[in-house]
């Protein structure tokens, strides 16, 4: 089990993953950045970005995805997302109140740069959700490896 996990799946899965994983990642970024215009937003986009890394981990084994994104860096990114969200909330105190939309009239409604702090909050939420889910996934996988090594 351990050896199998290190080497990943067959060459067909690896090739298809190499072709598609970038597109999945890009789609997640698109969903996050257009969250205030189209369906989607930070929650769905964050889970899609986490899914692209889960796809890498399942296809190529733990070592390849650990090179890009280790367990320590997931903790750092999740904490960064939480602090960014809270900092945006606290910055609103300067202009009116907690979670005040202090950037609001900044563009035509319907354009990409509009809606004040909502895109920034989408990015913060997506970092938090994606990194948290990927940390959960890595933890469950790593313990399985630990158990099979013990046997």
């Amino acid at each position: 089990m351990s050896k199998e996990h290190d080497h990943g799946m067959t060459i067909i899965v690896k090739t298809v993953t190499r072709l598609t994983v970038g597109l999945i990642f890009l789609y997640g970024i698109y969903i996050i950045l257009h969250g205030h215009l189209t369906p989607g937003g930070g929650f769905a986009g964050g889970v899609i970005v986490a899914l692209s890394f889960i796809n890498l981990d399942l296809a190529f084994g733990g070592k390849v995805s650990a090179k890009i994104f280790s367990r320590g860096s997931t903790s750092v990114i999740e904490a960064f997302g939480g602090i960014m969200f809270l900092a945006l909330a606290l910055l609103g105190l300067r202009w009116g109140g907690f979670f005040d939309n202090f950037l609001h009239p900044d563009g035509e409604p319907g354009m990409l740069i509009s809606a004040g702090i909502i895109p920034l909050e989408n990015i913060a939420i997506s970092l938090k959700v994606g990194a948290g889910l990927f940390a959960i996934f890595l933890t469950l996988i790593t313990l399985q490896k630990f158990e099979s090594e013990k046997k």
């Binding site: 189209t38 369906p39 937003g41 929650f43 889970v47 409604p109 319907g110 959700v129 948290g132 889910l133 959960i136 933890t139 469950l140 313990l143 399985q144 158990e147």
Partner: protein, 117 residues
């Protein structure tokens, strides 16, 4: 009665989940029951928000959409957070189940009770 039929089908789904939680012995089956009950609750909130012939709560820059024609957007926002929280709690339940399997070597909760003794 016809106007309540979707609610009743959703209630049947919820009752199936509750029945699985109460009567099953396998931990994975209990987790599946929790997941199904959670889906039923999310579905119920979205069903309450539906307006017959309504539109999605998204404005368009090329098309005039009246706010009066939209479905209720507030339950959508609350269910959106509820789904992600449900995934996190499901992951926590799976972690507990894997831990219990590592300790007792089985998913059967009645045998775990015997082993504790």
């Amino acid at each position: 009665m016809d106007a309540y039929l979707p609610y009743i089908l959703c209630l049947v789904l919820f009752c199936i989940g509750i029945y699985a939680v109460i009567s099953k012995r396998n931990i994975i089956k209990i987790i599946i029951g929790v997941i199904i009950a959670e889906y039923a609750v999310n579905l119920f909130l979205i069903l309450v928000a539906y307006r017959a012939g309504g539109r999605s709560p998204i404005f368009s820059s090329t098309q005039e959409i009246l706010p009066e024609a939209m479905v209720d957007p507030l339950p959508h926002a609350l269910v959106l957070t509820s789904i992600v929280i449900g995934l996190a709690t499901t992951a926590f339940l799976i972690a507990l189940a894997v831990r219990l399997y590592g300790k007792y070597g089985t998913f059967d909760i009645s045998r775990m009770r015997e082993l504790r003794g």
